[in-house]
């Protein structure tokens, strides 16, 4: 139980920081809406609704990337990660807490972005919403993990997209599939499987990322 209390405290710390400084969320919101406008002009007028469905997933992945790139910046600037590692709690709690906070930002951005998408392009099916929820879990699980690694390297911001995008390809495939077919069950199942597998790997190996 103390494990979940630690996770809760860490997540609350990030949410509180965001509430006071408002660094990440406004940037994500502006970015995703601007992306939609760019997509509108990138798509020829005669293109189908299917193309717009695909672009929704591009927008989600890149918006998430924006948030993930910022995720461990406070820890780096304040040299807080050393303190967290020294704290008497399981190291995977750092990953889980940060993942939950990132998920909250991404979900908040999507609460605005999805209606805007529906307004600009076409209405969204329930399967698409379900796929977005499942994809968010996977994106935040893997992205937070890779963010913690990228922030400790020399290349930093440059490295995260390179590490993250190959791992995000299955998410995009599952998400786009669920958005465009009539029977999305298999795609949703696949996304759930992806979440479970990678969450397990991240949870089990995060300790090696923050310790030596």
């Amino acid at each position: 139980m103390t494990y979940f209390r630690d996770v809760g405290a860490l997540a609350r710390k990030d949410l509180l920081l965001e509430l006071r400084a408002r660094d990440t969320l406004p940037a994500m919101l502006l970015f995703v809406v601007a992306t939609f406008v760019v997509f509108h002009f990138a798509l020829p007028a005669s293109s189908s609704e299917l193309a717009a469905s695909g672009l929704l997933w591009v927008a989600i992945v890149f918006t998430a990337l924006l948030g993930l790139g910022r995720a461990f910046v406070p820890e780096r600037e304040q040299r807080m990660l050393d303190g967290l590692v020294l704290a008497p709690c399981d190291r995977s709690a750092i990953w889980l807490g940060k993942g939950i906070a990132t998920l909250a930002f991404l979900a908040a951005a999507e609460v605005v972005a999805l209606p805007v998408f529906a307004l600009f392009f076409h209405s969204l099916s329930a399967a698409t919403i379900a796929a977005v929820v499942l994809a968010d879990l996977g994106i935040c699980a893997v992205g937070t993990f890779l963010g913690a690694m990228a922030v400790a390297t020399r290349a930093r911001d440059l490295l995260l997209p390179l590490l993250f995008l190959p791992l995000a390809i299955p998410i995009v495939i599952g998400g786009v599939g669920a958005s465009i077919v009539d029977a999305p069950g298999r795609y949703l199942g696949f996304l759930a499987l992806y979440d479970a597998l990678f969450a397990l790997v991240c949870w089990a190996t995060f300790e090696y990322v923050v310790t030596e």
Binding site: T153, L163, P166, P170, L197, Y208, E212
Partner: protein, 238 residues
């Protein structure tokens, strides 16, 4: 700390098969495979001569998987036993895997061009999978060379290598799924009728490439170890 680690690299375990024997074996096996594939195995009734590239394409693909698997296994050994040598072995195995992965993309493209007239086909599962894996493992090198040598770099590399073995089956499933929804299945290919010389030629080329990959792995590993030893000597004499 660094001296301790360098000494570790020095000790190492000795291998049962010496490198010269391996090199001779891979030269012989590759020659034998070339002879079998080009002069003994019969032409494919359907696709003619161009089908022969499959003996290498498939063997190279399986060799690349074996390299990635070995890399992940060594990574696990590193995390588990904290053996610094395993980190180097994992890196070398993945390096070989990427080289063979590029060869899969090249041989696959050549075959696609001859068979269908296009250099790239999104409907070909293996090609797309290897493209994803290539991107993933190319990022592995970016990650590795963006961190200073030491325990942190070893951990990052090992963890990322483990992600790879999870990504391979997941991507494979995803690409199979994508074919149904996103890309129409245009081409279907009947499985090759294995038998006689075709089977022999395939097995020999498979074994030849696995031995070749292992030889290259050992050569690169030996080079890296000499490198580490040299650096240590310089440290001592400086």
């Amino acid at each position: 700390m660094s001296r301790e680690r360098a000494e570790f690299a020095d000790v190492g375990r000795t291998y049962r098969i010496p490198l010269s024997t391996l090199a001779a074996a891979s030269a012989g096996l590759v020659t034998l495979a070339l002879v079998l594939v080009f002069f003994v195995a019969p032409n494919d009734a359907d696709q003619g001569f161009s089908q022969r590239i499959f003996y290498f394409h498939v063997s190279i693909a399986i060799t690349a998987y074996a390299c990635f698997g070995l890399g992940a296994w060594k990574a696990l050994m590193h995390l588990w036993k904290r053996d610094p040598r395993a980190d180097l072995e994992s890196y070398v195995a993945i390096h070989q895997g990427v080289i063979f992965g590029i060869l899969v993309l090249v041989t696959g493209s050549i075959w696609a061009k001859i068979s269908w007239g296009h250099w790239w086909l999104w409907s070909e599962d293996q090609l797309v999978l290897f493209l994803v894996l290539f991107l993933f493992y190319a990022a592995y090198f970016m990650l590795r060379f963006s961190v200073d040598p030491g325990p942190q770099r070893e951990n990052f590399s090992a963890v990322y290598a483990l992600f790879g073995v999870v990504l391979i089956p997941v991507s494979f499933m995803a690409i199979r799924l994508a074919k149904q929804a996103i890309h129409p299945v245009v081409f279907t290919r009947h499985g090759p009728n294995f038998g006689g010389w075709i089977l022999v030629a395939y097995i020999v080329s498979q074994v030849a490439l696995l031995v070749l990959a292992y030889t290259l792995y050992r050569v690169e590993l030996a080079g890296k170890l000499v490198d580490a030893r040299l650096r240590r000597l310089r440290e001592v004499t400086a």
